[in-house]
């Protein structure tokens, strides 16, 4: 599988994302946001965590309107796969690709800690290595991770099996304890926690490894 990792000014989890993808046996190339075209034959576009353009106005809002994003939207419209972690998730919601928005954490504080997640959807390419209701331990590090969506959108997410992960203990006020969601076709995933930070022995936990290992593998 060939992945492009998009780097915006302020991205800081791009190297972690590249090394997680490579460790799991995929080819991964970094793409600077000023590129006007994506390389050919890209299977997955990964938008990493960190910040983008200072996160002025709202987190991810400027990145979602940047020129490279037109290419990303085209890839997604064609049915391509995409992954947004942390700021990447915020960018995907600001672009209108995933429903809802990430608001300030309910306690107004930046939260950096390891949390337990429950895997809800286990059929997508991102989550099929896990079993339903598996408890996995994944780090979070964010100030705006409080997922908010309209009642109708939340119902639709549930009905279409688009909730990928939920927090076991809600750290930030997210609606329905949502930590990560999928697009309607289950090919785009956005999540606040960082699976790329729990993939090897040195991390003390490898619960994020199956996430990367399972990409494009048939279950």
């Amino acid at each position: 599988m060939r992945a492009a990792v998009i780097i915006f000014p302020g991205s800081n989890c791009d190297r972690d994302m590249l090394s997680a993808l490579r460790l799991a046996g995929h080819e991964a190339v970094p793409i600077w946001h000023k590129e006007t075209e994506l390389p050919k034959n890209i299977d997955l576009i990964a938008i990493p965590g960190g910040f983008s353009f200072g996160d002025y106005l709202r987190c991810g809002a400027i990145a979602a309107k940047s020129p490279i994003f037109r290419e990303i939207s085209r890839h997604i419209e064609r049915g391509g796969y995409a992954l947004g972690i942390c700021n990447g998730f915020q960018i995907l919601t600001e672009a209108g690709i995933l429903p809802g928005i990430l608001q300030k954490n309910i306690g107004t504080k930046f939260i950096s800690k390891i949390v337990d997640l429950r895997v809800i959807n286990t059929t997508s390419t991102f989550t099929h290595k896990y079993m339903t209701n598996n408890k996995i331990s994944i780090p979070i590090a964010h100030h705006e991770g409080n997922y908010f969506a309209s009642k109708d959108d939340l119902e639709e997410l549930k009905d279409k099996n688009c909730i990928a992960f939920k927090y076991k203990d809600n750290p930030n006020g997210a609606s329905e304890n949502i930590a990560g969601i999928l697009s309607e076709n289950h090919r785009v995933l956005g999540m606040m926690p960082h699976p790329e930070r729990h993939i090897e022995d040195a991390h003390g936990c490898k619960d994020g490894y199956p996430f990367f290992e399972g990409l494009f593998q048939t279950s």
Partner: protein, 79 residues
């Protein structure tokens, strides 16, 4: 022409920053403060003479970028 855009969180959307400011005011003994909502104000200089046209294009900008209408509402004032 300058347009002033005010972006506020919609009613019913929790505003943790506003809440924190409210608590700070209460702790300064302003007991009568019952709520605080925090928003954003932007002043946009526009090369445009028609107020109607200005309003129209600022509204478009609000929908596309300046506000996220999932949780925010906006008001435009030509000044």
């Amino acid at each position: 022409m300058i347009a002033r855009v005010t972006v506020m969180l919609k009613e019913g959307v929790l505003d943790p920053q506003g809440e924190a400011v409210k608590h700070a005011l209460n702790s300064l003994d302003y007991d009568k403060v019952k709520s605080v909502r925090q928003g954003k104000v932007m002043e946009i200089g526009l090369d445009e003479t028609s107020e109607i046209e200005a309003n129209k294009s600022i509204q478009e900008m609000c929908e596309k970028l300046l506000a996220n209408t999932v949780i925010e509402s906006y008001e435009i004032e030509i000044i």
